[in-house]
């Protein structure tokens, strides 16, 4: 039903795989709004959240998702522990692996780190963001949010705006929205565009107004200042002037276009604060809500495979 052992990226997922996660997540989204939130799909399983990079919302979201489904959840902020003592990623992972976790949720600053881990450990690995590579659960929660707001997840015009080059969210979204047959536009300054990105089946715009013209979905990205070597853009204020989303620029999109942001937001850098809070346009809070549901669904599908593998149903 979901023929994957790990969730390392959107790459490799087919349309039915994506729909399977979203359909199950939809059920959890409804249930999460009731007082009866608890399930048993992960009962008896151990989930370790291994975060080599600081994170608040993703780590909390995975933790709540695991707990709602009955898993034993442990959080490790590796950014502050053994790595500083010189232990390698593999050694840290092998140490945890020896404690027999079933689900390993990993965030790491290096692209491909989760792929490397998945080759070495026996449990299911979920990528919670690796370098500039992928952030699959973010793309899935974005997809669910779009599907709920627009009633479909195909033949939509979606604009992804900002720092594409350093964004794993952008890569996963390009892959997912492409697989679901949407038209994708990337908008941003050329210094923040990856090389030959036009070969990924997207349209590239350097001008915000042109790029937003007639789109159904506006997806803003965080300007990842901490990732920059410096010198990608002249200044924050010029960036906001040219690429920051405000109601004037948004007016070029369709009248019912929704505004998304993976968070955390830099108000006044990439998005106008009032617009971000506008409940008629912004679905940013719903994205966070869907994050829990999507992670519950993804972990449950992987857990089903785990249980089948070991013969215990």
């Amino acid at each position: 039903m979901f023929p994957h052992r790990h969730l390392l990226g959107i790459e490799g997922l087919k349309r039915p795989d994506i729909e399977a996660i979203l359909d199950l997540a939809e059920i959890y989204a409804t249930r999460n709004r009731t007082p009866e939130k608890h399930g048993t799909a992960l009962a008896g399983l151990t989930q370790i959240n291994m975060f080599f990079e600081a994170s608040t919302r993703t780590q909390a979201s995975f933790e709540i998702a695991g707990k709602r489904l009955g898993a034993d959840v442990m959080n490790m902020s590796v950014a502050h522990s053994s790595v500083k003592k010189g232990e390698t990623l593999i050694d840290t992972a092998m140490t945890l692996n020896a404690m027999h976790p079933d689900l390993l949720v990993v965030r790491h600053p290096s692209s491909g780190a989760c792929n490397l881990l998945a080759q070495k450990v026996n449990c299911a690995v979920l990528n919670a963001g690796d370098g500039r590579h992928e952030h699959p659960t973010q793309a899935l929660l974005d997809a669910l949010t779009i599907r709920r707001a627009k009633g479909r997840l195909h033949r939509l015009n979606v604009a992804i705006c900002g720092d594409i080059a350093h964004s794993r969210v952008a890569r996963s979204n390009i892959l997912l929205l492409g697989t679901m047959e949407n038209r994708i536009r990337l908008i941003g300054p050329p210094t923040l565009m990856p090389a030959q990105v036009d070969q990924l089946g997207v349209e590239v715009y350097g001008d915000m107004r042109e790029g937003l013209d007639g789109v159904d979905v506006v997806m803003m990205l965080r300007l990842q200042r901490e990732r920059m070597d410096g010198g990608f853009i002249p200044s924050e204020r010029e960036y906001y002037h040219r690429y920051g989303l405000d109601s004037e620029k948004l007016a070029y999109a369709k009248p019912d276009a929704i505004v998304m942001h993976p968070g955390p937001m830099n108000r006044g850098v990439e998005i106008d604060g009032t617009l971000a809070d506008d409940i008629n346009r912004s679905v940013i809070q719903e994205q966070v809500e869907m994050g829990v549901a999507v992670r519950m669904a993804a972990m449950e599908l992987l857990a089903r495979n785990l249980r089948q593998e070991t013969g215990q149903r």
Binding site: T88, I90, S110, G112, G131, P194, Q199, L200, D229
Partner: protein, 427 residues
């Protein structure tokens, strides 16, 4: 004592042809080469090669050995055995060791140790600047006297053009060969792969192929200025080739080399972040690879080398960006190069021109030829025998080969250095 190798398919890169015949070895040299099987030569011992190929031994420019400093990665002994098993009869050793080989005392010590421990010839190169730091030139004169065959800072580019131009000027006065791996250091900084669709999808820091052209153009301008003997090694891009062709046409004393991995692999081989495919400069596009092979065929690129770079498991078992660069290549150089022959892109004399003849000529060595009087540094191989490479069977101490579990064709059967068999079945 004389040894006659009969029933051989001789590959003569100098004459650019192959023919059936026999070859007699006396006193460590080739003393007669015979075409056809008509007139038998008197000899003490006869070895029937059964129609297999006989070629001048490979002279591999740019082999990193872990001594001094990283003997856990490779020693003279293990590198020597790997070379013998790979048909490499002369290792030209890189100075990018820890510490760098940048003074005559170290060079003399290292080359004496190497030649005691390794069954093949080992010739040392020296750093161009002290500590490979790009600030002060080494004692080029003393180092030549001590046996240095070339001067190179390897993958570190001498960024200060004034320093480089003085090094080139001084080297020229002594006739020393300066070898560089040209890249623009600014564009290259922090990169792990070549920029393009693949790099963008994988989210890896990338460098444009333009960096190599910029590095090469800069070096060639300084070569034009100083008249130095210059070898641009480890070229990997199509973008760099026009500059190289212009320099050669202008009559500069310039040659160029390519690494076997860039001739047989491309960026997509990295696949799912496989760090054994992380080399420096990074693997390029298929278009670059094809342009490079064509340049070897036309003679624009003179030399093919393994750029043997041993790395231990720990330094490779890391996320791609953090993993060490480099691949071992002494034993896989020939079977990998034969892929180009099996693909009908290069003939055998052209291959051995790049593997044996040209490097010998560029370094002023008498090897690399199949004619009477040349040293009997030879290899016998079967170009067709298929096998699947098992990296744990390599003789190198480090097993970081990108060809692991790959199907290859062509095996070395015997290797001779100065007429002595150093690899192959006992007589």
């Amino acid at each position: 004592m004389t040894v006659l190798l009969t029933n051989a398919r001789l590959i003569d890169p100098e004459a650019g042809r192959t023919y059936d015949g026999a070859l007699r070895i006396a006193d460590g040299r080739i003393d007669a080469v015979l075409e056809g099987g008509t007139e038998p030569l008197p000899t003490d011992q006869v070895t029937d090669l059964g129609g297999k190929c006989l070629a001048p031994g490979i002279v591999d420019i740019g082999v990193k050995i872990g001594e001094p400093g990283e003997r856990h990665k490779e020693s003279f002994r293990t590198a020597g055995r790997a070379a013998a098993a790979g048909g490499v009869t002369t290792i030209v050793m890189r100075p990018d060791t820890t510490p760098a080989i940048d003074n005559p005392e170290t060079l003399e010590f290292v080359s004496r140790r190497a030649n005691e421990a390794a069954p093949v010839r080992v010739l040392p190169m020296a750093a161009l600047t002290k500590g490979r730091e790009g600030r002060e030139m080494v004692e080029i004169g003393f180092l030549i006297d001590a046996g240095a065959v070339g001067f190179t800072d390897c993958d570190r580019v001498v960024t200060d053009t004034k320093v480089l131009s003085r090094c080139l000027t001084y080297a020229r006065s002594l006739g020393a060969l300066v070898i560089a791996h040209p890249q623009d250091p600014g564009l290259t900084a922090g990169s792990a792969v070549t920029s393009g669709k693949f790099a963008s999808l994988r989210g890896l820091p990338a460098v444009s192929t333009m960096a190599e052209r910029m590095g090469l153009e800069r070096d060639l301008a300084l070569v034009e200025l100083t008249g130095a003997r210059y070898h641009a090694d480890n070229l990997s891009t199509a973008a760099a080739l026009p500059a190289l062709a212009r320099a050669k046409a202008a009559g500069l004393d310039v040659t160029a080399g390519a690494n076997i991995h860039h001739l047989t692999l491309n960026e997509l081989d990295v696949g799912d972040y496989r760090t054994f495919f992380k080399i420096k400069p990074p693997l390029r596009s298929e278009d670059d690879r094809l342009a490079l092979v064509e340049a070897v065929g036309s003679g624009l690129i003179d030399i093919i080398s393994s750029m043997h770079t041993p790395q231990d498991e720990e330094s490779k078992r890391l996320p791609f960006e953090e993993a060490a660069s480099g691949a071992v290549g002494l034993e896989t150089l020939l079977p990998a190069a034969l892929r180009l022959w099996h693909a009908e892109m290069l003939d055998l004399p052209a291959l051995f021109r790049a593997l044996s003849f040209n490097p010998s000529r560029r370094l002023g060595l008498p090897t690399g030829r199949l004619s009477a009087g040349a040293p009997a540094d030879l290899l016998v191989f079967d170009p067709d025998v298929p096998f699947v490479l098992d990296r744990f069977k390599l003789h190198s101490k480090s097993k970081n080969t990108p060809f692991d579990e790959q199907r290859m064709q062509g095996r070395v059967l015997r290797t001779f250095v100065a007429g002595v068999q150093v690899f192959g079945p006992a007589a």
